[in-house]
Every structure is written in C-alpha cells, then in structure tokens.
C-alpha cells in the first residue's frame, strides 16, 4: 500500500471505475420496466430545482412577490419540488419491491434514504424563505419541533437569514453530493437483477 495520499485517492477513485461503468451505453436486458423512469425523473426534477432556484437567487428572495416573471419562476420551483418528491417516493417504493439492496447494495439503499432525508430538510428550508404568511406560520410551528429536541438552539427556524443561507448555499451542495454518491454506488454495483427463484440467493449478501 502506497503511503502517498495522492496515490491512494487516485486508486480509490479514478482507478476503481471504468469509464464504461460510469457512463454506460448498454444495460442488462432486464432493465426494461416503467419503474426505472422514476430514478432519472427524480434527477431531472432536481436539475430543474437547481435551475429555477438559481433564477430566483439571482433576483433575491422578495423579487417574486412583485413581478409576474418572478411569480412564474417561483411557480416553476414549487411544481418542480412537488414532481421531485412524487418521483422520489415512487422510485423508493419501486426499489423496495425490487429488494434492490440485494448483492451487497445496502450502501446504495442507505444513500438513497439519506438523500430522501436531506431532500426533506432542503425543501423545508425553502418553505421557510418564501417571505410570505405561509413561511411565517411554518417557522413559528416548526420551531417547537426543533426546540423540543434541542436542535432549535442551533437551527433557528425564525431566523430567515440563516434559512436562506442553508437553502441556497449549503443544502443544495450537500444534497447534490449525496445524489452523486448514490449514482456512483449504482454505477459501481450495476442495476440490481430480478429476484431469482433460487432461495440461496435471497437476502442482502
């Protein structure tokens, strides 16, 4: 084992993945079902969220209240997040019924759950920064939940400035990183094959 950090990082990253695994142009023949659409649809909705979020970011948090174009941008952001969660939940259920953790894919499942939770937090902070009555009410209600487990002392739902920074700067990066981790795990292990009749192959080995 090399003592060079650079060598170790190269071996753990670039040398661990073949280009054709990261960007495949073929898939196993069994990858042929409507359920596979929802994974890529979730990522596509995430791309739309980033795009419409950047649009809103460029103009500032209160822009959309007094601008028709701004209101449309906000609507695009809202409907993108609604679609994002619909796709993600269907994707999650699909993976459950496929027992997609088989074949040492537990880390892929866990990374998906972490992505789901990070999405909940990111969406929640988005609702906090609408700068309208809904955001005011959500903040005052949610603070009790966070305060009740000690989190509110560090994440103050009533502090709009903190919520803006979390939603616009930090959480998209965190969520994006988790999504990349999730996709790399899928590419590394390949798409889980159908559940076979052979009972010895069942489980999560």
């Amino acid at each position: 084992m090399s003592t060079s950090w650079t060598t170790r990082v190269r071996k753990a990253t670039l040398e661990s993945y073949k280009p054709e695994d990261l960007l495949p142009d073929t898939q196993p023949a069994y990858v042929a079902s409507w359920i596979y659409i929802f994974g890529v649809a979730t990522i596509a909705a995430f791309v739309m969220l980033i795009a419409t979020g950047l649009w809103l970011t460029l103009e500032g948090p209160a822009w959309w209240h007094g601008s028709g174009v701004g209101h449309f941008a906000n609507s695009m952001h809202l409907w993108s997040v609604e679609l994002f969660f619909v796709f993600m939940v269907v994707h999650l259920w699909g993976k459950f019924w496929m027992a997609a953790w088989r074949g040492r894919r537990i880390a892929t499942w866990v990374s998906g759950v972490v992505a789901f939770m990070a999405s909940l937090v990111t969406a929640f902070t988005g609702y906090l920064i609408q700068t309208n009555f809904d955001s005011q009410w959500i903040a005052t209600e949610a603070k009790d939940g966070f305060n009740s487990i000690g989190v509110g002392a560090f994440f103050n739902a009533l502090n709009t400035g903190q919520a803006i920074l979390l939603h616009v700067a930090l959480l998209p990066l965190v969520l994006g990183g988790i999504v990349v981790w999730h996709i790399i795990l899928i590419r590394r292990k390949g798409v889980v094959p159908p559940i076979d009749n052979d009972a010895t192959l069942e489980g999560s080995k």
Binding site: A32, A44, F72, A99, G161
Partner: protein
C-alpha cells in the same frame, strides 16, 4: 424455469443498448415542460406576510391583550423555556431532556424584548416615563399590575384600554397604549427587527411576538387550514399542495397519545427519527426485508424477464 441470477456478481448476461446522457437530457426537457405547464395552469400561492403593524391595525384588542400578557408572563413565549429563557425546562422524553440541555442560546425576555425595550427607545415621553416607573417597581408589584390589567382587558372584551382612576394597574395602561400606537405606525416592526443587528435578516422577535397572538396570527392560520389540528405542517395557503411528504409528521399530531401530550413535539420528533433509522435499516430487518419476496410485485416489474421474453 428462469435464469439463476446472483445479484452480487457483475452482470455478464444479455444486454440492451442504453444512452444515459440522452435519457437524462430528454427527462430534463420533459420535466421542465411539465413544471412549466403546471405553473402556467395553477401558478403558486402567495398570501402576503403579516406584520406587527397589520396586527395592531386589524385586531388592536388582541394586540393589547397579548402585549399585556407579555408583561404578566402568561404568554407562550413568556413561559417557553430553552432556547429563549429559563421560564420552564421545556419538553422531554423520560430522562431525555434535550430541550433543557440545549440551554438558552437565543435569550429573549418577552416583557423586555417585545414591550419595554422598544418603548424606551421610542419618541413617546409618556411611554418612556411608564417604562421608568415599571422598572423601578418590584417584581411582585409588576406582576400584580400586569395580571390585574390583563383581567380588566379580558372583562372589557372589545377594548384596547381600560380606565384606571384608582391607579390599580400602575404604568401598564400607558405602556400598552403607547406600544399599540408604536405598532400601528410600523415603528415596532423596525425596532424588534433591528434590536440585535442593524441588518434585518432575523425575524425571531417579531415572529415570537406574533405567535403569541391567538386572535390574529393563529386565527388567520386556521382560516387557511394551517392549524396544528388541521394537518397544518403539510398544508399550503389556499388550495395548493404543500409539503405533503410530511404527512406522517402531521399524522401523529392528530392522534393520541401525541395529540394530548405536553411533550408531543419531542415524542413525534423522536418517533420520526426512529422511523428514519428503520427505513435505512430495511435491508437487514428480519421480517420487513422479506416482504418483497412474499408479495411478488417484482413479477410485474420484471414480467418480460420472467416470461423469458428477454
């Protein structure tokens, strides 16, 4: 008989052509058009934000009663506990006192923060004198004045002030009248927003004060079906979809023992934390991980494979 498949071994069987980049590009285009279409058809809600000014102008009676409650120490904020003050120890679960242990990291004394400090810096001599009188009194005297005036306002029902010819309530009537005038003019919003920083990005104080209002803030939320008993956390103003993915959070608040518990928030948050952990552990949970084998929905998902069409 289907082909035996070991899920841990890299697939070496038949494949089909696949264009990952094209698939993603088409998906982004389709989802973008779908979001644009939904936005064009349904738009998005935008119920205007409320302020201390709109509260004082719309429901001055509720404002006066709530402000008096801040002085009497009877509002939610005044009796909250961490992270705002030490009026209570907060919620807990058994010996787990996370709220108490987090400490007072956002110190707020509602009487001082919402009433006395703003008036002390407001250009109203009567109000400033009333603050001086209040500060010179003992705590017991202050409580007696404020609770007495709160009772009087409650009995008067639709009044923002009650005459006090016998001086039973000390400076409290003047304090409340001055604060009401300050709020109606909009100065109280600015005062609370800039009390800790000249750059107003932190709405903790005005929102905590507003949240103590039952006749204005909470009533408006109930009108918009946002109340806690109305699955409010997952709702949106008007008829738009809100955070429906929080349905399980909202659900627990609708049923006992959570609904009637003084520690409902702690119980629900910990329960949801446990469920999150269980979701992550599905692959190793003895019964749950076998469900996909017992209920063969996978036969539908991979029907072509099982029918040996591939």
């Amino acid at each position: 008989m289907t082909m035996k498949v070991d899920p841990s071994v890299k697939w070496s069987g038949p494949t089909r052509p696949y264009d990952l980049i094209k698939e993603l590009a088409v998906a982004v285009l389709v989802i973008g058009l779908l979001a644009a279409g939904l936005s064009f058809l349904f738009s998005s809600p935008d119920e205007k934000a409320v302020t201390l000014k709109s509260w004082a102008q719309t429901n001055p009676v509720d404002f006066a009663q709530t402000a008096t409650g801040e002085l009497a120490g009877t509002t939610t904020s005044a009796s909250y506990g961490p992270p705002y003050n030490k009026a209570a120890s907060g919620q807990h679960f058994g010996i787990l006192k996370l709220q108490d242990w987090s400490g007072v990291r956002i110190p707020i004394n509602p009487a001082k923060s919402f009433v006395l400090n703003p008036l002390a810096s407001y250009n109203d001599v009567a109000g400033q004198d009333a603050v001086v009188t209040w500060n010179a009194a003992t705590a017991d005297q202050q409580t007696a004045w404020a609770t007495g005036y709160a009772d009087a306002l409650g009995k008067a029902k639709d009044a923002t002030a009650v005459a006090d010819p016998s001086n039973l309530y000390g400076p409290v009537p003047t304090l409340i009248t001055s604060l009401l005038n300050m709020a109606k003019g909009g100065a109280l919003d600015g005062s609370l927003l800039t009390s800790d920083s000249t750059l107003p990005t932190n709405f903790t104080k005005p929102l905590l004060f507003l949240a103590d209002s039952e006749g204005y803030f909470a009533a408006k939320a109930e009108e918009q079906h946002l109340g806690g008993g109305q699955w409010g956390v997952m709702n949106e103003t008007g008829s738009w979809p809100g955070q429906s993915w929080l349905w399980l959070f909202s659900f627990w608040y609708q049923v006992d023992p959570f609904k009637s518990s003084d520690n409902a928030d702690t119980l629900v948050m910990l329960l949801m934390g446990l469920f999150t952990l269980l979701l992550a552990l599905v692959p190793v949970l003895p019964v749950i991980r076998k469900i996909p084998y017992k209920i063969p929905i996978h036969r539908l998902i991979w029907k072509d494979w099982y029918n040996k069409k591939l």
